[in-house]
């Protein structure tokens, strides 16, 4: 495969337009919030924004890599809660934290492999495969592990919980450090490995990638296992911070919606083949700034959901207008 992608003149600039629009809107929001909301433009609030963004950023990394391959992982939040539950219940029963984390990593990797197997080998569309897996994982973990419960409360006195909820250095929470590490790992996977090239090729034209002899099946496994591991990390960050593993995040929450929102708004199209770290950061910035501002203004949760939904609709319409489907992009497997 050539190192230089051949693209029509002007297309790259057009593709980046959504990302630029979202970045501009974010800057405008930051300026407006700084002027109009007391306490927004402070170092302390920046710390809160980063800390609250950690879990969604980590999940967005997993989702972005999947979406670039023209996939979608609807089981991400179910995996997040199940991973955190596996770890927490082992630690609560006296298993050393190192062993508990190894078991949790193995369990999540197996779930990622199950997703990948259904998509790459059984050839079930990603959306349906991961939707089914989300239901299966939620049911299995709720009834087999939590014995029908919804919630596991974690003591902050536990050293591992305290570690994830603590700071690595003055003013730098562990959650933020993990978020930066995950963003770096995502960049490395997409831009500095041969597997990253295959990921883009799969998203650009899956049939061509397969016919060219690229390892599309093993790459699907890598991608979904990577997503599962980001879900585990997000689960550990969230549960340690709030002191609870809560399955209502899967059944009732809007986290999955927020993650897809970050990816799409950042400029990673659901038809795959494009996007990277910069897109994740741009999408993330808009969502976390918007959420923080709306909380400071004291908007109700319903109003917040409504505005986020409106933003997503505008983004998708803009994306379709700026990147109209053509014979190259409008191929089998589109969502």
């Amino acid at each position: 495969m050539s190192d230089v992608a051949i693209r029509p003149v002007g297309r790259s600039r057009r593709e980046n337009l959504l990302e630029r629009v979202v970045a501009a809107v974010t800057v405008v929001l930051i300026v407006v919030f700084s002027i109009s909301i007391e306490g927004f433009a402070t170092l302390g609030n920046l710390k809160v924004i980063l800390s609250n963004a950690a879990a969604i950023a980590v999940l967005s990394c997993g989702m972005a890599v999947v979406v670039v391959t023209r996939g979608l992982d609807l089981s991400l939040v179910a995996q997040m809660v199940s991973g955190a539950l596996t770890f927490s219940i082992l630690v609560a029963n006296g298993t050393p934290a190192s062993i508990a984390i190894l078991i949790a990593i193995t369990t999540m990797a197996l779930i990622g492999m199950l997703n990948a197997w259904m998509i790459a080998y059984v050839e079930i569309p990603a959306m349906l495969a991961t939707l089914a897996s989300a239901m299966f994982v939620t049911g299995l973990f709720r009834f087999a592990v939590l014995q029908g419960g919804f919630l596991l409360l974690l003591p902050k006195t536990d050293p591992t919980v305290a570690f994830f909820a603590g700071e690595v250095g003055p003013g730098l929470p562990v959650s933020v450090a993990l978020m930066v590490a995950t963003l770096a790992a995502t960049w490395f996977l997409l831009n500095a490995t041969a597997r990253g090239r295959v990921i883009y090729a799969m998203g650009d034209n899956f049939q061509s990638a397969r016919l060219t002899g690229l390892p599309v099946r093993t790459t699907t496994i890598v991608v979904y296992v990577f997503a599962a591991l980001t879900a585990l990390l997000a689960g550990l960050i969230t549960s340690s911070a709030s002191g609870a593993v809560d399955f209502r995040t899967v059944t009732n929450g809007t986290l999955l919606f927020d993650v897809i929102l970050v990816v799409v708004l950042g400029g990673i199209p659901l038809r795959g083949g494009r996007g990277g770290l910069r897109n994740i950061v741009v999408g993330l910035a808009l969502i976390v700034v918007l959420r923080n501002g709306m909380t400071l203004i004291d908007f109700t949760t319903q109003t917040q959901d409504m505005l986020k939904g409106l933003v997503l609709i505008v983004a998708i319409v803009t994306d379709n207008y700026l990147n109209p489907r053509d014979t190259e992009t409008d191929t089998v497997g589109d969502l």
Binding site: T42, R142, K156, A165, S242, G243, T251, N252, T300
Partner: protein, 329 residues
């Protein structure tokens, strides 16, 4: 002859003692002779798997075992769509008593009315709908809201030297308890202009959402005096945000809940300061007794709703802390 009678008496006494010991040993409830045996009760909770509903069902089942009626539990698992379907199915089965746990004041109102019109007695438990029914067993949310607001005024109001800033973290703005508690609290706060409610955002009952809201509000209002969480479970997230911000000594965290041992642990760990407990274990027993009475034909003379208000226990941090106020599953 006297010896024969004495021997028989000794044997009978021994048999009675052995029987009594056996009965005590199995810890089985005594069975009452009643005319309600074989009747059918269906309970549709918002969700099982939480101490509140598990505690109720444990006690209601004990009553069902004693009187010989059946108690079916249909778990809606926090899914309001599934809940209306489960309730429709339950109504079609024509139980003698239907126990419902309303997620919001509106959601089940029409179905409660339908059940009552079809002769099914509806017992609403802890969360009341807009639609009255035969009976209600549960907390007096107006009283809880008023009492907590009163306590906040005492701790944060005039003369306290505090900012008077309060953040409210309801579960859902349309949930019965949140609606009533907010109304009652705002009524109290209105009489005390020094109290300022700086945030009133629902957490959807999720601890993580409550944590994120609280962390943001604390940043904007570092001099916040109190947080009023509407349920101790999601308030765990809010309490953790306060603790992580190093403000556990200056911000009072209030909540309400069923008062199981987890609530006492939260107070011990300094995550929450004051919990108004409606004692889910006691509520379960009250609900069981109410079902027994409804099955025996109890109804108020004027057709109004029979109401059993749950007594409240206040679990407080500090020298007044008493772990015996909490119950264990």
């Amino acid at each position: 002859m006297t010896e024969k009678v004495f021997t028989r008496f000794r044997m009978a006494t021994t048999a009675m003692l052995v029987g009594a010991c056996a009965a005590l040993g199995t810890n089985a409830p005594a069975h009452a002779d009643s005319n309600i045996a074989g009747k059918k009760v269906i309970f549709v909770p918002i969700a099982m798997g939480i101490s509140l509903t598990e505690g109720w069902v444990r006690r209601m089942k004990q009553h069902a075992d004693i009187y010989g009626y059946t108690l079916d539990v249909r778990d809606a698992a926090f899914n309001t769509g599934a809940m209306t379907e489960l309730l429709a199915k339950a109504i079609s089965e024509k139980p003698d008593v239907l126990v419902v746990h309303n997620p919001t004041v509106q959601l089940l109102a029409r179905q409660i009315k339908q059940a009552e019109s079809e002769g099914i007695k509806v017992l609403q438990i802890n969360l009341q709908s807009n639609q009255p029914s035969t009976a209600f067993v549960g907390a007096n949310w107006e009283r809880i809201g008023r009492e907590i607001a009163g306590d906040i005024v005492k701790e944060c109001g005039a003369g306290s030297g505090k900012s008077g800033k309060v953040a409210i973290v309801p579960g859902q703005l349309t949930a019965a308890d949140s609606v009533i508690m907010n109304e009652a609290a705002f009524k109290v706060f209105k009489e005390h202009p020094e109290i300022e409610v700086v945030s009133n955002q629902a957490s959807d009952w999720e601890p993580e959402k409550a944590r994120q809201i609280t962390a943001t509000v604390l940043q904007q209002h570092p001099d916040l005096c109190a947080i009023f969480g509407h349920w101790d479970v999601h308030t765990m997230g809010a309490g953790n945000a306060v603790k992580d911000a190093g403000k556990a000594d200056s911000v009072l965290v209030y909540s309400t809940g069923g008062g199981d041992s987890v609530a006492c642990k939260a107070v011990e760990d300094g995550i929450q300061d004051r919990i108004w407990s409606y004692d889910a274990d006691g509520q379960g027993r009250d609900a069981g007794t109410m079902i027994d009475l409804l099955l025996q034909g109890a109804r108020s003379a004027d057709g109004s709703m029979l109401i059993v208000e749950s007594p409240l226990k206040i679990v407080k941090a500090g020298p007044e802390y008493d772990p015996s106020l909490c119950w264990k599953m």
